[in-house]
Symmetry: C2
Subunit: 107 residues, 2 copies
DNA sequence: AATTAACATCGTAATATTGCAATATTAAAA
DNA sequence: TTTTAATATTGCAATATTACGATGTTAATT
């Protein structure tokens, strides 16, 4: 079917999974790493840097924005995409909470 | 195309993304949480607990096994699936390293 | 030996994702 | 005002994922 049965899971489970899912593509990992190594980020750089078509990069940026990880500011003709540090930290804490509370008790 | 261009990314980026991807489904999050709340885990419990068909649960378990997060032991007719604590910790450290080294420097 | 219980695997339908070319859109530059 | 540069959006093809019924497989039970 290809459709996830979200309604049988809790909201926490769904949005935790959504965070993981967005990070679950090497292009998006690479984009975040590249942005963090720059003082400024311009989308066009990413096209050359990553090696995917402009439309594809734009799409990946959109997904990263969808979970609040990126802020985009218009700078003339260009865009300046930056990591939203507050959200970044929130996400890291959220994932750590998941790892810390989910422990093995058997075998 | 639906196919990820893995060859243009580093091995680190690809397997980090793979970890995220496997965790990026609410059923798999739920499975890990359920296992952690039990002293033993039997797959059949999961079918009732999660509310997906037995074949579907089996498939999700397979994906969790594929990144080494679950150990499965045969126990008579049943299976005992457990979290591989060593791998679990490795993964947590790996993700934290990603979060800590990827920082924002602009805007 | 037949039955049953607990999974795993296969096949398949429905939907999602990835990627790109083509085409907007927007703002600076000429 | 036309042109150009940078990015977004649309439409589509190829592939991946999700889910489940049907069918194996294996081991305990009868």
């Amino acid at each position: 079917m290809g459709i996830t049965k979200s309604q049988i899971f809790t909201e926490q489970q769904n949005d935790l999974a959504q965070f993981f899912k967005v990070l679950g593509h090497p292009a998006r990992v690479a984009i975040l790493q590249y942005i963090s190594n720059q003082n400024a980020c311009i989308c066009n750089d990413l096209v050359e840097e990553i090696g995917l078509a402009q439309a594809t990069i734009s799409q990946h940026l959109k997904e990263l924005k969808s979970i609040g990880l990126l802020n985009g500011e218009v700078e003339g003709k260009s865009m300046c995409y930056c990591i939203n540090v507050e959200r970044w930290t929130y996400l890291q804490n959220r994932l750590n909470a998941f790892f810390n509370t989910t422990k093995s008790n058997c075998c």
